[in-house]
Amino acid sequence: MQGEVNEFKPLIVAFCCNWCSYAGADLAGSSRLSYPADVKIIRVPCSCRVNPLFILRAFQRGADGVIICGCHPGDCHYTTGNYYARRRMTVLFRLLEFMGIDRQRVRVEWVSAAEGAKFALVMNEFAGAVKALGENVKLGDLRCKP
């Protein structure tokens, strides 16, 4: 891997809800299920805590993909949080796509605490998709380039 010097390494920010998806990530870890180091996880209490500003912020700062993971609909620790998140993100993602931002750079996935395998799978898949898209230039901020 690290042999290829100028290989594009995407930066992926993953917002994971504390009760399901973050636990799912832990399970992926304790099951030694690997996924790219490009994925960096930020813990939030619930998927409904994710503000569109955070997503834009990530892209501004150089992220190439942003994924939001929450409990499966119906299983939200707070009963309704992921339902709100689902609507918000649906509307936001469609708007971004409308403005020409690659749809595949953003994603919502429901991962339960038992789905360590799914978590790893999703992250591998998403990282692959984002890598294929290449660097995010459309929503980047030149001032934040190193």
């Binding site: 920010v13 209490p45 707070y78 309704t80």
Partner: protein, 665 residues
């Protein structure tokens, strides 16, 4: 200026094998705000914690980052350690470099840079952390149970048993509820009254239980541990302390046109009445809408015949206010109205009855003294058709009925069929069903007994139409198994009407800010893990108000609700989670978006004066009840102005994490 200490754990080789822990510590030393960084084999060990404590004291650390395993493992451990060192426990952040790094990456070339990135994010976050202190609120050591059916009674008994005071509010004149109307119970066929009435008596006699019958909840304020509830005790026009329940007045009352609710309106009762013989409290109640004296001022017979002088025509409703620590909803169910099901001729023929009406007909204390006769002519029926799923399992576009399965119908229909065949072997009994559902201890055996031993004929199929024809009820249905159309001349038709929540429940749910599903059943806090709690802290659910249930299930849930109540009342003070939402009143618009998404009703609004940039203004402002908020953060995104923020997961903190992670690129 913050002073951050970073501690990198090896977790033996769990982390150290694929992450260069020393390099991580080293990288952290050059992070802004970090004044101390070290690595150690096992941070969670007592020695490790001591190192943490020592460093906090020695370097006067204001914040700590632990690079170790998942916070779900040891966040509490390290928070307590920090507290022991005199640091606010919420000034601790964990970088999960085991589950999220060392365990999923093969070598240090990959693991170390990622660990550094995660550590950076944690440092960036803790730099924006603020000390948080958990709030406390007192607990009123009294519970309120709303609904005096078997669910409410059982919950109250268990709570009382545990030594706490509990009130039962029941809107009808007596407790007992639906179970009191039942003749026998499946699958044991023991008499319902025989097992219920002792519990009713027990409830009445318990020193810890106060029965507020013929009363309704009018207003609920406050929050978990501190509810203030307004209750209206409706006027009975009878002094309950004097009334002996001798029923002399009932016998003499000239107004006898009132529909007898207890017998599902199959017969009439007098204006002054006692719902049934074992009613508790066993006192008379005057139905103002029927009473001649109250309507016209004439009559007054009951007053004359009452030797106890208990009649009081001038009695008024009484409104009382009480404080409770916990509230249990046990409002129960009722059969749905069948007006939309004209095909079964329920409105046209008195011989088409619902199962609950049939229950009364079979009951020795019922309108027919337990004789199985046709309501229309009092004749003995020879052919009875039972129709199941009337209004249950309807498709959404049917425009009538319920989509759910009412759960209890299969069993009570088997019970009715069996009872009929047992007492009157001459009666032919057929049951039309879609599926027979008998999950439950001894349920299927019971059903098979009905079919195999008692000769109840089960017909898989739907009934299309029922109509009256020369004294008979023509039942047209299909027998799917034999693939034939049946036309049955029946004497009686019994409809297993779907059950639905009591209509009052919706209003109550609103008062309690407890959410309901689309069918007006109370929603549970978690469908699997918190089935007897409502999402609103301090409000619990008992019995069929949460979903269709039979008696054993109801009693079980009632007990579970009781233990939740007891668990709550056993505390003197409630410690609240400090990671809750908070509204900046200078930014708040009072638009109520946050209030609408809050699943706990934790957000309230009030008009307050603010000074914004030197300008005085009176505004409608949100405030969060920290005892009720659970910290999901739904409100923070619903709020466009950013007035709502979440302590511990504040906008600035999360953005700082994002920035730090992206900086690593």
């Amino acid at each position: 200026m913050q002073k951050i200490g970073v501690f990198v754990c090896w977790c033996g080789t769990n982390i150290a094998a694929t992450v260069d822990v020393a390099a991580v510590a080293d990288a952290m030393r050059s992070e802004p705000g970090v004044v101390y960084a070290a690595d150690y084999q096992y941070m969670c060990s007592e020695v490790g914690q001591q190192r943490l404590i020592a460093a906090v004291r020695e370097h006067a650390l204001t914040g700590v980052v632990i690079c170790a395993c998942s916070p779900r493992m040891h966040e509490q451990t390290f928070r307590r350690a920090a507290e022991r060192a005199g640091l606010n426990p919420y000034m601790v952040e964990i970088a999960n470099i085991r589950e999220q790094c060392s365990w999923i990456h093969k070598d240090k070339a990959v693991g170390t840079p990622k660990a550094i990135a995660l550590a950076r994010a944690a440092v960036a976050k803790v730099l924006k952390n603020a000390p948080l202190t958990a709030g406390e609120s007192p607990v009123a050591k009294r519970a309120l149970v709303i609904g005096g059916g078997i669910a409410g009674i059982q919950t109250a008994l268990d709570v009382a048993e545990a030594g706490y005071e509990v009130d039962i509010v029941e809107k009808s004149p007596t407790i007992g509820g639906r179970m009191a109307q039942l003749d026998k119970t499946f699958p044991t066929l023991d008499c319902s009254a025989c097992i219920l009435t002792p519990k009713m008596v027990e409830a009445a006699q318990s020193p810890n239980i106060e029965l507020l019958t013929y009363s309704e909840v009018e207003k609920v304020a406050g929050f978990v541990g501190n509810f203030t509830v307004t209750i209206r005790k409706k006027a009975r026009y009878v002094d309950t302390n004097r009334c002996t329940g001798c029923a002399e007045c009932v016998a003499k009352c000239p107004a006898r046109k009132g529909k007898n609710e207890f017998n599902m309106g199959l017969d009439n009762r007098s204006a002054i009445y006692i719902p049934f013989a074992q009613a508790i409290p066993n006192v008379a109640t005057i139905d103002a809408s029927q009473c001649i004296k109250l309507r016209t001022g004439k009559c007054g017979i009951c007053e004359k015949v009452c030797s106890a002088g208990a009649i009081d025509y001038n009695q008024r409703d009484e409104v009382i206010e009480r404080r409770y620590g916990a509230i249990v909803a046990a409002t129960g169910f009722r059969p749905i109205s069948l007006e939309k099901f004209g095909e079964y001729a329920y409105q046209e023929s008195p011989d088409v009855v619902t199962s609950l009406e049939f229950e009364r007909i079979l009951n020795a204390a019922g309108p027919t003294k337990g004789q199985l006769v046709r309501p229309s002519d009092g004749k003995h029926p020879h052919e009875i058709v039972f129709i199941q799923c009337v209004g249950s399992r309807c498709s959404e576009d049917a425009g009538k009925g319920k989509t759910y399965c009412s759960k209890i119908c299969c069993m009570y229909t088997a019970k009715h069929a069996m009872l009929v065949r047992e007492k009157y072997p001459d009666v032919r009994v057929r049951v039309f069903y879609i599926d027979v559902r008998t999950p439950g201890k001894n349920f299927d055996e019971f059903y098979r007994r009905a079919a195999e031993q008692y000769g109840v004929e089960y017909v898989k199929g739907m009934v299309g139409k029922v109509w009256r024809q020369n004294g008979k009820l023509m039942v047209q249905g299909s027998d799917l198994l034999n693939d034939e159309q049946l036309l049955i001349p029946a004497d009686m038709v019994v409809l297993a009407a779907a059950i639905e929540p009591e209509p009052g429940a919706r209003a109550l749910a609103t008062m309690l800010t407890a959410s309901m599903d689309t069918n007006d059943f109370f929603s549970e806090a978690h469908p699997k893990l918190r089935p007897v709690e409502s999402p609103t802290a301090g409000v619990f659910l008992s019995g069929a108000c949460q979903g269709p249930k039979d008696i054993p299930e109801t009693v079980a849930q009632a007990g579970a609700a009781a233990i939740k109540v007891v668990g709550l009342l056993s505390k003197d003070r409630l410690v609240t989670n400090p990671c809750v939402a908070h509204s900046n009143e200078l930014l708040c618009n009072g638009c109520s978006q946050c209030e609408k998404v809050c699943p706990y009703g934790a957000i309230t609004y009030s008009e307050r004066e603010v000074v914004d940039r030197g300008v005085k203004d009176v505004r409608r402002l949100a405030s969060v009840n920290e005892a009720v908020c659970r910290g999901c953060g739904a409100c923070t995104v619903a709020c466009p102005s950013g007035a709502m923020d979440l302590k511990g997961f504040a906008n600035r903190q999360i953005m700082a994490e994002v920035d730090a992670i992206c900086r690593a690129k």
